[in-house]
Symmetry: C2
Subunit: 259 residues, 2 copies
DNA sequence: TACGGTGTGTCCATTCAATGGATGCCCCGG
DNA sequence: CCGGGGCATCCATTGAATGGACACACCGTA
């Protein structure tokens, strides 16, 4: 075992290729969209030789791409495959015009989120130039209990998700973040009743999040939200937001009926 | 061989797992966003057992998702990974406002395409309600020689791509599609000189495509285009389009400098 | 009730694609 | 000239992946 262990490979570490591929993709982030193979190897905790082979193959498939310096970035084909048939696509496509209108009228950051896992996944965002701080990003996530969009989605989520979130740790972003399960449960009832979530300072002290449900065929499929300054005027924006949410919901129904 | 060949598996057909996974994703299309495992198995030409195993694992990673009837669709995580660090994201994000403005002013379908492989890949589109026929889709592709956006991108593409397209078959969509390599070469020179591609009826008899280059740091990174009715008014829309293209180019430069 | 068709999922002996340490190359800064 | 980092290839080893057979569930028809 120790004597003539010149042996080459003691084979794998018990992971599937797909797992490793996903880890490679996860190595990228908005802050590091371009990586060297070595960086990927370290971040994904994969042997260098293995990383090189996988990156090579993913590149051949167009899921990754390499620039002139042989650095690696995510390939356009990846985007294309994801875009092609994802439910996100149709939602985004019809939502955009309404978001544009809303953004134009209220002049604040507008965003659209869906429930994925136990988080909100933001699929579209229109930023107001010089707007309040907004940590949301397209493709970004926020916990369900802390964000206005999250509360809207959680209020109509299935009981398993509700139970998990109510049980799980309710991490605080600010002193105003809801961290008590009983408060959360009461808030959810409120949100359900009014069809509106109003979250002053829950995520950032200077920002208020407001969100309304977006329905398709009666079921809540997304949350449409605004991020506005944390002043007394926030409430006046709830009406336009609600109208926009209703308009989008109607458009989704029409779209579904004609296609 | 025939007698006791009760043997189970004669193992693989010499394909990597990743190749198969990509084929599974390619089985989906905008027209069939939801498939059964059997359908995937047939379309991807994979044994059923293998398909089930791979679909299972991809689902565990969130790259695929299954509905209540156990049918399969592309998962949100796929979209998220692609979105996160793809160059498409930043381009789309800054382009959107300018596309919105342009769309608002001219009132026709507006689209943004990039060069990927030897085709245009459209990354964003704003449709005019009741507009001319427009076969482009977000995430859709068109050949370089036939579309206005394609000509803009081809005019500034590297010589290898140019050579391949000029050599390759130039398929016709209508009698107006450019199919002669010499005409194509001349047109490309024109497009380069004027910074504009004007394609009446090249793709559809009733539609005119117009496109201008979008530059970042001097290099052409995308093509901004309009699809308008095939009447005499099309030319009057070139000026606004050119302005929008220039505005977007400037915004990309500023964005690059500040980030 | 029986029956064919279709979609789904599990089992498991077989085996080849995947593995990763070793080696060497190139480039850069000291 | 040397050390360090990134990149890439080689190749003996092996376990993850394979896919035919089997079994179950469902549905409309005979």
């Amino acid at each position: 075992m120790t004597s003539d262990d010149v042996g080459v490979a003691r084979s794998s570490s018990g992971e599937s290729v797909l797992t490793r591929a996903v880890r490679i993709f996860e190595a990228f982030s908005p802050d590091d969209p371009v990586l060297t193979v070595s960086q990927i190897s370290r971040r994904a905790a994969l042997p260098l030789a293995t990383t090189i082979r996988l990156v090579d193959e993913l590149t051949r498939h167009g899921l990754l791409a390499r620039d002139e310096r042989r650095r690696v970035r995510i390939g356009n084909r990846m985007w294309e495959l994801a875009q092609r048939a994802s439910p996100v696509r149709t939602l985004r496509e019809t939502a955009m015009q309404f978001m544009g209108d809303l953004h134009h009228v209220v002049g604040h950051s507008t965003q659209l989120g869906i429930l994925d896992g136990d988080e909100v996944l933001f699929v579209e965002r229109l930023v107001a130039p010089g707007a309040v701080v907004n940590i949301t990003k397209i493709g970004g996530r926020l916990p369900l209990h802390a964000s206005s969009a999250g509360l809207v989605l959680l209020a109509t989520a299935c009981s398993e998700v509700k139970a998990r979130v109510l049980r799980g740790p309710l991490t605080a972003f600010t002193p105003h973040t809801i961290t008590d399960p009983r408060t959360l449960r009461a808030t959810l009832a409120d949100v359900s009743r009014h069809g509106l979530a109003f979250c002053p300072g829950h995520i950032h002290p200077d920002a208020t999040g407001i969100a309304v449900p977006v329905r398709a065929a009666g079921r809540v499929v997304a949350a449409l939200g605004l991020v506005v300054p944390n002043d007394g005027n926030a409430w006046s924006l709830t009406r336009p937001l609600q109208l926009a949410g209703m308009a989008l919901s109607r458009a989704l129904d029409v779209h579904a009926r004609t296609s």
